[in-house]
Every structure is written in C-alpha cells, then in structure tokens.
Amino acid sequence: MAKKNTTNSQTEWNYAASPESTSHIRLEKKYQLFINNEWVAPSSKKYFPTINPATEDVLAEIAWANDADVDLAVKAARKAYTEVWSKMSGAERGKYIYRIARMMQERAREFAVIESLDSGKPIRESRDVDVPLACNHFFYYAGWADKLEYAMPHKKPEALGVAGQIIPWNFPLLMAAWKIAPALAAGNTVVLKPAETTSLTALKLAEIIKDAGLPPGVVNIVTGYGDTGAAIVNHPDVDKIAFTGSTTVGKIIQRAVAGTHKKTTLELGGKSANIIFDDAPIDQAVEGIINGIFFNQGHVCCAGSRLFVQENVADLVIRKLKARMESLYVGDPLDKNTDIGAINSKEQLDTINKYIKIGKAEGAEIYQSDCSIPSKGFFCKPTLFTGVSQSHVITQEEIFGPVLTIQTFRTIDEVIQKANNTPYGLAAGVWTDKGSRIFNLTTKLRAGVVWANTYNKFDPVSPFGGYKESGIGREGGVHGLSAYLK
C-alpha cells in the first residue's frame, strides 16, 4: 500500500494554548505599606483591590497610604539617609545594589508572571524585556556608586537626600528599577509610589530589598492613588521628585514644587514620529512600525504613534503592515504565544475607545486586524488609521494604546517639519538606507531618543528622556546620574 505523500493543503495549523504556569508564584491576600523594612498597616485603614485586567479577577488587596503614612515613610527615609546611607562608602552602597540585582535574577520568572498577571502585558515581554532590563538597571547603577566623581567632572558630587518617586503602570517593575537604582547609587534614600493598578511587582521588590538586608528606611514603598502621590510631592522634607507619567500630572507636580528647593525629573508623554523613506529596508521597517506601536499594547510613552511614509511606497508599506498585523496574537497575557495582551485598565480602554471613536468621527479610515479578542477582560484590537493629517485630533493627542495614525509625505523637509510640529519631543524613528540622510534627520528631529533603522530599544546604559513637553532630565546611562546628585 503506497503511503500518502502530500499533506492536505486545506489543513489549518494553529498553535495550541501554551500558558505560563502560575504555580510557583507567591502572592499575599493583602499587602501593607513597606516602611523601614517593615510591613505597616495604613493609618487610613483603607485598602483597594488590584485586578488582573485580562480576567477582571481580584489578585490582592493593597494598602492605601494617606498623608500620615507618607510622612512616616519620609521620616524613615530621612533617618536612614542621615544616620546610615549618607555615611556609607560608595563601594558598600554598590554591594547592596548588586545584591538586589542578583536576587531579582534568581526570582526573574516569578516577577515576570506577576507582572503579566497584574498589568496585562504578554509574558513574552515581561519575561524577555521588562524583568531582564530591570535587573540590568540595578547591575549598571550598582557599579556607579563608588565612581560618582567620574560622572560629574569638576564637581564634588553629593546626594540630594530623600527622593520621592512616582511611577506609572505601563512598565511597573522596570520603572521602579529606573527610579530606585540611580537614586541609591548616588546615595539618596527613597520613597516610591507604584501606580494603583500595578503595585504588585514593586511590593515583591520590597521583599527582595528586605531580604537583601538594605538598612531600614533606605527604600520605602507606599501604595495608593493620586492623593498618595500628592502627599509625597507636597511633603516638605522631600528633596527630589522623580515622576514618570502623563504630561498633565507632570505639570501639576511642577507647579506644586515651584518656589521650593525640590529638584524634579519628569518623563512624560509623547506622540513620536516614525518615518519611513522609500529606500528603507521595507520589511524591517514594517517590523519597526509594529514594534513601535504594538509593543506593550501601545502603552509606551515613546510609542511610534505617528507614522510618516513616503508617498511612493505608502501603498506597499500599508499593505505589508496590514498583513503583518494579521499575524499578531491578541489574548491571554500568560500565553507564551500572545503578542498583544490586555489593556491595563477599564479606564484606559475607555480612553482608547474614545479616541477610536473620535478618529472615525473625524473621517479617518480605520483598519483593525481580524483577530478575535477574549470576551472577558480589557482588550483592544490592533488598530490603524489612514487618511489623516496633522490637524486630526488622533494625530495630535497621546492615545497610549495600540492605535497608529498614518500620514504620507513627499520631501524630507516636509517630514521634518511635520515630525517636529508637536508640543512633545520624546522619541522618533527614521528608516532609510542612506547614512547621510540618517544623520541629517537624527540631528533635526527635536526628540530625546532617535532610533535609526530600529525602534523601541532600551538599555540601562542608554540615556532616555524628552525635549519640550515630554519631560525634563534623563534617565539611564551616565546622564541619568546627575538627576540624583548636586
């Protein structure tokens, strides 16, 4: 009997579900505030639930810190600064930070799973991007602790004192690392507030800080909503405010500290241009567009949310982009094959949907990929808008979701002008095969990070931060140290 030689070409080959196991993670039912290396019940006696945005299930109850709790944390940080941390040698400080990095590495998988549970980001990203980058950030700055005089030539660098740090929900653990690591290396003590929808990995980090034996009070983590953040910003004994979040809140903070001695660094919003020339490596550019806007569900301040394509390749690029969007898997963040996970919160999903509605009302042409999305939880299909101009609201305002607007251009001058025609200035992307043109563009684009023939790359050694309304100051690299030194 002759065996069958050809497979049936009608057969669909689909990946089976491949969920990451949650059996090895440990979560408490209730989390207290982390002050002085102790778990302290909030004097407010209030708690709020943190949910899994993919299922809407409650993961844990989180303490809600009020002014008195924040005061307690700042006092602990001040005491630790004056009595211990400022007296310790840089080399010793560095050893503590190295220890944090190592312990995070050991527990990397647990952190990745919790991050995906709490934030909705796909496990592929929390496992391959967020957690390793967070560990590496501690490693990088640990080594600076005893070399500060090389970071600021002709100055005798000194720590600022107590740093109040407020971080967003899009990269919960990574942003905690971006804030805590340089602050400690420079010799400051810290009061950190995670975002209310994503407190868990910061609280797991608190466990590590305790296990690593950091002196009590050096790092304090207070959880809560905007009022908790305001209490930090307005506390008279805080010397430095470092904030990552929206431009609106950034301005509120900047007003609150006006006329005080507090230094600020702000990492705020963006509406970054990603520019494709006709001689670009087109297929890699398409990947760059995808990575630019759909990475982390588009919850990225430097997302390449405004695409500019040279007119003579626009049809080609859009066709390829749509085809590529169809191969993105949207769904369970814990599935290893998921490309796009859950939107972080109901509130953010509403915001995104509001902008999609505005885009349609403005007459832009919408395209969404044909994927199915789960019925429970907060999900949004990858979306793009064509037929838009600079004057459309959806090309001007930060959407912070998987929504791309596409404009075409004819000349280099036109695209530079349009790319810079925004109050933001965080990032930009340029795709062309021609070296001299790359340098022309990277010089003229008013943005703090320019990716040429790549997009959305991050590294501890690479300074990050915006021009104009995208923020003040840099984080990462040697330039990120000066934010925590005087």
Binding site: K251, Q254, G259, L268, V449, A452, S462, Y467
Partner: protein, 285 residues
C-alpha cells in the same frame, strides 16, 4: 558740543525703539539723568522671541569651530570698545578700578567660551555600550530659544557670563538687561552686531524685570528661562514656566563660569543604529 547716545534695544539684528514708545531715565549718583532707555514691553519680548526662533536653525547648525570664531570676534570687538564701557560703568557708579576689572573679565569670559565651542561636546557626550547589536551615542543639542534675565547688580559682566555659554552652545537668546544698570547691555549689543553674530541670535531688551521676566516665562515658544535668583519673583516665574515645561534655571547670585553653564542649556539626544556584525553573530549573515 557732545553728541549724546540714544539707547535703543536690539531685536533681530536691528536697533529699534520699544514698540510701546515708553522710556525710563537712568540717573547718576548726583541725581542727573545720564540717559533715557527703552522701557520694553511684552510685545517687544514677543518680537524678540520671533527673531530668536528664526535665527535658531542657522545658528545651531553652524559648525562649532565657526561659533568659537564668532565668540572670539566678540572679545576682539569688546576689547576695541573698552573705553566706552569704562565710561558707561563709571557713569553708572563703578570705580575706575572696578570698571577696568569688569571689562577685562568680560573680555576674558568671551575668550573662555570661544574656546569651549568645539570642546564641550567631546566632554559631555558619550558612546553607550548597549547589550544589543546597536551603535548608541548620546550627544548634546542646544535647547533653542533662551529667555535670560541678566544679573541685576552689574551692568556688563553679569550678562556676559549668562549669555556667552548659551550662544556658545548654539542657543539663541532674548536677554533682559539689568534694570538699574542697562547702559552696557545696549552697547554690548553693538559689540554683538559688529562681530559676525547673525541677526536674531542675541536680542537685548531694557526695561522692568517684573514686566519682561514674566513675559518670557509665559511665552510658549521659549525653551528655557535663565536668571540669577530674583527673590520673590522666582516662584512666579517657576509657575509660569510650567505651561510649556520650560526649563527654569536659577543660579545663585554671582554667576561664575564653566562647563556646567553650557550643559545646563543643552538637551541630551540619544541615537541608536543597528550594527551588522556584533555580539555572537558568528555566521556571515
């Protein structure tokens, strides 16, 4: 009969009077008027910002070497006009010795920053060894249009110490002169004008700090506001700066000189590009 000088303001490479038509008198110790200077208005600030923005592209793209040459040329021009500055300083109440020292310091300051123009980038930029196959570097770029309030207690040196690092770094400037001691500022504008500095790179206004500084702080097309501490006014200015997240730089009185004054008015830009062969790519693809 001595010919008296009309003290005008300097906008976009021209010397207009204030659009407001207003003036205020500068009197010497004896109470007699030495000069009537322009009491510039918010609209003058606006015109100056437009001129500064227009000049920014060309000035920031000049070669560092060329900017250094021009700053050095300013020192030469100032040297040539030494006597005029000495006279104005003494008229405004300085002793001869103090005046001579102030002019010399101002010349030296320009020479100092002339030398920095093609060096600060080398000191403050970095190549960042990222853990992927990319070339990554951070370099400085000028912030743009800078609003400046000159030091109030000096007529010449205070403004030179603020202005020189700003333009050395490729920024363009709208500067309010010392309110009580404005004469040297206007004469310094003539130095600027005769030193190959393109029109609009430096704009100098005279008038009330309480009127000009808030106008600069609130202007949405000004990228940074620089001053020595102005006491009570500091907080008002800081608040006004928030609307466009203007960088607000307040120095203690008695500004000195050095690299940090240049880098304070620079943005750090980080650029990434793939490298075809690096990091474990052992095959020839």
């Amino acid at each position: 009969m001595e010919i008296l000088k009309t003290y005008k303001i300097y906008i976009g490479g021209a010397f207009p009077r204030t659009e407001s038509g207003r003036y205020y008198p500068i009197v010497d110790a004896s109470g007699s008027t030495i000069a009537n200077v322009c009491l510039s208005s918010r609209k003058d600030v606006r015109n100056a910002v437009v001129a500064a923005r227009k000049a920014f592209g060309g000035w920031s793209e000049k070669t560092a070497f060329n900017r250094g040459q021009i700053l050095y040329r300013m020192a030469e021009m100032l040297e040539g006009r030494k006597l005029q500055f000495l006279e104005e300083l003494t008229k405004q109440g300085s002793s001869k010795e103090a005046a001579a020292q102030e002019v010399q310091e101002s010349i030296d300051c320009l020479v100092y920053y002339a030398g920095w123009a093609d060096k600060y980038q080398q000191i403050a930029s970095s190549i960042n060894p990222v853990s992927s196959s990319h070339f990554n570097f951070s370099a400085l770029e000028p912030m743009g249009v800078i609003g400046m309030i000159a030091a109030q207690e000096t007529s010449l040196i205070g403004l030179v110490k603020l202005l020189a690092p700003a333009i050395c770094g490729g920024n363009t400037v709208v500067l309010a002169a010392s309110e009580a001691l404005p004469l040297c500022a206007v004469t310094f504008a003539e130095v600027v004008h005769s030193s190959d500095v393109p029109g609009g790179v430096v704009n100098i206004l005279t008038g009330k700090v309480s009127e000009l500084a808030p106008a600069m702080a609130a202007h949405m097309d000004v990228n940074a506001l620089v001053s020595e501490s102005l006491g009570e006014l500091d907080k008002t200015l800081a608040l006004a700066c928030v609307d466009n997240l203007k960088r607000n730089i307040v120095y203690q009185q008695g500004t000195t000189q050095g690299l940090p004054y240049i880098t304070a008015l620079q943005e750090v830009k980080t650029t990434w590009h793939p490298i075809e062969q690096i990091g474990g790519a052992s095959s020839s693809y």
